[in-house]
Amino acid sequence: MKRIVVLGGGTGGTLMANRLRRLLDRDAAEITVIDSGDAHLYQPGLLFVPFARARPESLTRPRCRQLRPGVTFRRATVERVDLDADQVLLADGASVGYDVLVIATGARLVPEETEGLTGPGWQDRVFTFYTLDGAVALRRALSEFVGGRLAVAVMDMPVKCPVAPLEFCFLADSYFRDRGIRDRVDLVYVTPLDGAFTKPVCNRELSGLLKDKSVSLVTEFNTGEVDGEGGRLVSYDGREVPFDLAVVIPLHAGQDYVSRSPGLGDELGFVPADQQTLQSKAKPNVFVIGDAADVPTSKAGSVAHFEGQIAARNITRYLAGEPLDASFDGHTNCFIESGSGKALLIDFNYDTEPLTGHFPARIGLPLLRQSRLCHLGKLAFGWLYWHVLLPGREIPGVHSQMPAAGKRQPAPSPVAPARSSR
């Protein structure tokens, strides 16, 4: 009997456990999911909470209920992983041995790593919508906001769902328009990148959208300090962005136990993995999925979904002593809410930047173009998440490999691509 232990009962951990349970007979392997809490949060819904377009209580469900029969859910806090002994040590002193370990513990927010961010003004005029509490607090602040400068600021990469801060700007524009006070609100988007997005074609479209909605853009701004009392973002190179209300995306890191496990993670607590097989670089019997992984793609639910199929196959091959043959191409697929009941869709992978065209083929949803259809797609995604993604099933017509058909290849451009680092 093989023992598979999955750390984390979020998107990646849940769909992994369910996929593996379907692939492996119950008498061949036991599967245990370990998580410290039992509330599974539908993270894509957080974006809508501040605008009173999602009810907070509708976004969480019990973790254990998302797991197939035959998957054991254990509520416990992980102290560290002993890679040499193939054991997970729990905070209560117990240890759990494994033949295969799946790391799916995601990313955590570390607002305290930015000077001043959690000081005076935090949750008063400085908010984040990346937590449920934060999104609810921001809903109240937005409803009381009658005018002034609203700054939306990304502290540094990597962040979960890198398009969410842009979506927030688009939705804020609609929100204040609906309230009839848009002319009294100055919206500004502050990013450490040198454009709205990292890749040229997408950057052009999204920058244009910010402009259309009169959102000013401040680039290459590495926030060193958030002064909630004085209402200022201060960059490391001494520039300032004043604000009346700030919505920040705090720094992200991996989980603490990763840093306490010698040889497992990198400096930020993410776990380096082979970008194709999703096997960790730490040890062959450890696999990584979702936001916890250090692989060069977005931290997004769609990535965890596409990775799921690849990692599940490779894990079963590994258990059977066969060479790993499934390869992840970095496929990412995101709906971008653009306000006024519309959305855009982007689809890309390690090698192909988000392009215009249609998805998944020549006839399909428009790519990188605002449409009502994509907005409906985004809303439908909530249902797909609980009923198709988490159970570890395939979305009909959507494959883990990125489709090339339907994408318009860009003409070779003499302009240097947008830089993506500092």
């Binding site: 540094d156 990469m157 990292t198 490391y236 190179d237 400096e267 060069p296 830089r419 680092s421 500092r422």
Partner: protein
């Protein structure tokens, strides 16, 4: 792709001025690359970062981002911005003759 001459040696550089072959880099080239970026003097602190960048590149195949540099190089992010204004990770990588750190998406 073009060529630049540092310390009397021709090296291949990309459109943004990064050496395309880190093996061509020698310490003598650093002051000249730095000067072209407006850094007139390389202090011991600069060198600590430059050598760290080289070491990270040689062991990991990519240069660290500024946040990782701040955590691991022994030089705080604040000081990194004083040493290499605007973009420490990018600038230090260029002076150290390694590719631009792989960005995040």
């Amino acid at each position: 792709m073009s060529t630049a001459t540092y310390a009397g040696t021709d090296v291949a550089v990309n459109d943004e001025g990064f050496l395309t072959d880190p093996a061509q880099w020698r310490e003598e080239m650093a002051p000249q690359i730095a000067a072209a970026e407006g850094i007139t003097e390389l202090t011991e602190r600069h060198w600590q970062v430059i050598k760290f960048m080289r070491h990270e590149y040689e062991t990991k195949g990519t240069g660290p981002t500024v946040r990782v540099l701040g955590k691991t190089s022994g030089v705080s992010v604040k000081e990194l911005y004083q040493l290499f204004p605007k973009g420490p990770a990018k600038l230090a990588a260029k002076i150290a003759g390694i590719p631009k750190p792989r960005g995040c998406i």
